[in-house]
Amino acid sequence: MSSHQAPNPLCKPVEHTLSRRHLLGAGAAASAIGLGGLGGLVQPLVAEQMQQKEKQVLFIWIDGGMSQLESWDPKPNTHFGGPFRSIATSIPGVHISELMPKTSRIMHKLALDRGVCTFDNSHSAGVPRINRGDPKDRGVIYPYFGSAVANLMGPSDSGLPPYVWVKPGSGGFKYQDAGFLGPKYGALAIGEGEPPPNILLPESVDTQQNDDRNSLRKFANQQYSKTRPATFSEAQNFVFDTAHALMKRRSLFNEPAPKDIARYGDTPLGRDMLIGRKMLEAGVRFVKVNSYGWDTHGDNFNAHASLMPRFDQAFTAVVEDLDERGMLEHVLVIAMSEFGRTPRINGHIGRDHWPEAWSIAMTGTGIKQGAIIGETNTEGTWVTSEAHDIGHFFHTWFNALGIDSEHTEYINEGQPLPIANDDCSPIQELLA
């Protein structure tokens, strides 16, 4: 590379922006006018396996890197162990950080892998890489896990979008997650717990009038469809139907009941986790809940002292809540970051990025409860058991959802693409 030029922002080492097929011109072959093109059609052979319409996912993303040493894999009183103690859990012999007392009591419901070893220690490249399952480079931008599930499993009958992202900050439609699958599989983001703009029927339109006007609209659309191609019209109908589904469910955005706030914690994560549960209950296929602010290069220990209990509360609240509602048997729950944090403690009394040995927790459908696997050495500096990369987890989670991860493929404009890294395989010890 010429020294004059900064790295090409358009050309990231493992991803090039357009698929081979796209570049070769989908135009020569017939390309349907449409919703993100033909991307994402699944091989018909395995389509029936995925008629598991009732399975859903809650994906809790702890952005910035939760410290495994202050959470799932503590090494108290060792060289890099930090100040905190570990506590016993509901599984004899298994200890986690004293900062997660509520979680310790439901440990028997969880599965945990402490032998995670991945290969990116930066946020900007690492976050997308992890979210995409670090697939092999095939010249396409792979979808994030949520878009993948939205595509492979489709929306539920609720009419709500299949992929909802509950997060601080801005809301709106975040199509970038979808990669080559196309914008239809992007995330509808709920920012600060606020509904999308214009979700409320205005006062000037009462329910009867709303019914009337939509009947009229549908009549007009039927007339148009008689002699016009389907694709544009179907896309339009789809967004209006989704808009209505959101309007019908606007109570999802109501101020939550005080007892729910007390249970989940009156914190950004607590409130968003509660919305997440409501979204799952309403039938959203894949809900991602984000918590930001975990990149504790400085003041790591005081930070985790206030961050972890709040995660602890919100996490256990949602797991127990789902369990009580009978939903844990069909909802896959995952909690993770893009990496862990260094054993070495820096001068700002913090820990830096550490993909070398960290932990991922999960529970719910298809997962073996109480499976605590993966080990690190005494000081937490190396994985001593079989190390697992994020590709292994994607295999595992697809299988937990009833999708054969090793034989299912996307067909992206004629190009077959594996749904998970083909050098990895499901972690059988985590599967029920």
């Binding site: 010249g139 029927l201 009038q209 009229l216 659309n221 339009q236």
Partner: protein, 542 residues
């Protein structure tokens, strides 16, 4: 180009070759129709054509009186007269500015000087090659056109935490003006596209990598540092050191002159005014000469392709920025001849639009019948639906409801300081309305608007947003007012105003019945207006 009627008559009866060349629109039809043995759909109806040509040429649907005027015109040349009328309409340059702004700037921002450049260029039908010259080599002495620099300067602005995106600017010069996306050829020859070489990217890069945004002007302006050496680059795959001067793909490299140290500037930098110096050698001067020229075939083909896209909704090369051997034009000879003729006609955009509009290909119906049910888009056997831009939706909804007449007349200034939100009073200014429509319908910056991509956001905007809903109730002279004053034949008024056609019998009965028998006629009228505004037929350019 004139037609000699006598010769034309002779041609009909004997097979003498016409002594004059055919018009472009005839050649278009020949090429398109001869390329497929399958049946082609019939001509569009008058109302189909009417709505389509209004949207494509002036960016909005016709109002009721314009609709009635055309639909009652029985002369055989009514369509060509309408085309000519619209090309001279004051709204033509507004439409073209909006379209080219979206195509060239991809929603990066709004700038009044850029806006002025666009509207004044289209007002006087500035040739495309001249427009491109202005964009790559702006003339700061010309107040009307100097905003053309925005094409370059906006792309040099940093966004987020990214460094100055010189590669992105080089890429977009290739995309917009040559139809080549060389993004993946920066670090190596393109992995999949054999035609796109690293040297091509680097040659483009060498034109702009010493440019910068001037900070001494209150209009967009580009500066250039002295260029002293050829650009060196390495490939991540090939061994060796490479270098290039500024060079367009397929054309000759611009030699970089040597200057004695201290003599690089024609005008020295001025420390007091902060005016940067003007170097004696500016690669952009050469880019302006080499790029938009008749001998640059890629330039010609790209220009013709994009004007085709404007009218047909799809490029003959599609995607438009990926022209290469493995993504050839659907009709290569047609594109070549269009490119050639465009160059021969001094890159007259209006001329080219007119020719396309006159063709059978453009005027074909979009309705699907069994014989064209299996038609592929690139065959043009039936006209393809096109999406409406945020601007087209805005002007069309304003027109359909009659709200446009209620807004105080003002110049279409862009970039007002208004920060109105939907919650604030709906002070009706075009700028405020445009902000709402862009929020609801426009893509985020740097996302091309070339595919149909309806959004839930847009649906909610028209369902529940106060803006459009405020246009429904009766106000003096608007659509609801007219309907309220009627006691029958509501469907006619509705359909002519909103969908630019007469209703079918079924539609007539349905809407007349609904409004006529409703206990609250005023409310019923509002729902009916809304339903057609929110309908697929309205949202789609067919």
């Amino acid at each position: 180009m004139k037609i000699y009627p006598l010769l034309a008559v002779l041609c009909c009866f004997c097979s003498i070759q016409p002594l004059v060349a055919q018009q472009l629109h005839e050649l278009i039809d020949q090429h398109i129709e001869q390329a497929s043995p399958e049946p082609f759909a019939a001509e569009s109806t008058d109302s189909e054509f009417l709505r389509r040509i209004y949207l494509d040429l002036i960016g909005q649907i016709p109002n009721t009186s314009e609709t009635l005027e055309f639909l009652s015109d029985t002369a055989t040349d009514r369509r060509s007269r309408l085309i000519d009328k619209l090309l001279e309409d004051s709204r033509y340059s507004r439409r073209m500015s909006e379209f080219f702004n979206v195509m060239l700037m991809e929603r990066r921002g709004i700038d009044p000087d850029w806006q002025l450049f666009l509207t004044s260029s289209f007002n006087k039908n500035m040739a495309w090659d001249k427009m491109v010259q202005h964009m790559v080599s702006p003339d700061t002495s010309n107040e009307t056109t100097r905003g053309s620099a925005y094409f370059l300067t906006k792309r040099l602005e940093k966004y987020g935490q990214n460094p100055t995106d010189f590669p992105g600017l080089a890429r977009d010069i290739g995309r917009m003006f040559l139809g080549m996306d060389l993004a993946c050829a920066q670090c190596h020859d393109h992995l999949f596209i054999d035609d796109y070489k690293q040297a091509d990217f680097q040659g483009l890069f060498a034109f702009i990598n010493n440019s910068f945004i001037r900070s001494d002007t209150d209009y967009p302006a580009i500066g250039m540092k002295p260029v002293k050496v050829r650009l060196e680059f390495n490939s991540v795959f090939e061994e060796g050191n490479f270098s290039t001067g500024p060079k367009l793909p397929g054309l000759s490299e611009i030699p970089i002159p040597e200057f004695i140290g201290g003599e690089e500037f024609a005008v020295e930098p001025n420390k007091e005014t902060k005016a940067p110096g003007i170097p004696k050698f500016n690669p952009l001067d050469f880019l302006a000469k080499q790029l938009p020229t008749a001998t640059n075939e890629s330039f010609n083909l790209n220009a013709a392709n994009r004007i085709w896209y404007l009218m047909m909704g799809r490029g003959i090369v599609h995607p438009m920025d990926l022209h290469h051997s493995d993504n050839p034009p659907s009709h290569p000879q047609l594109l070549s001849l269009m490119g050639q003729q465009l160059a021969d006609n001094n890159y007259d955009i209006k001329w080219c639009i007119r020719q396309i509009a006159l063709s059978r290909t453009y005027q074909r119906t979009g309705t699907i019948t069994p014989s064209v049910a299996n038609a592929k888009r690139h065959e043009y056997r039936v006209f393809s639906e096109k999406p409406l831009s945020a601007e087209q939706l805005m002007w069309s909804m304003l027109t359909a409801t009659g709200q446009l007449n209620l807004i105080p007349p003002q110049t279409t200034t862009v970039g007002s300081d208004s920060t109105e939100t939907q919650q604030e009073q709906l002070g009706e200014s075009i700028d405020g309305i445009r902000t709402d429509f862009l929020d609801a319908y426009a893509n985020p910056p740097r996302e091309p608007e070339t595919e149909f991509a309806p959004s839930v956001r847009g649906a909610l905007f028209v369902l529940n947003g106060p803006r459009v809903l405020s246009w429904l109730p009766a106000k003096p002279g608007n659509l609801a007012d007219l309907l309220n004053k009627q006691d029958r034949e509501y469907a006619d008024t509705l359909y002519l105003a909103i969908l630019s056609r007469k209703p079918t019998l079924e539609e007539t009965n349905y809407f007349n019945q609904y409004i006529g028998s409703h206990s609250d006629k005023t409310k019923a009228i509002e729902q009916a207006i809304w339903a057609l505004l929110a309908s697929n037929e309205f949202a789609i350019n067919h």
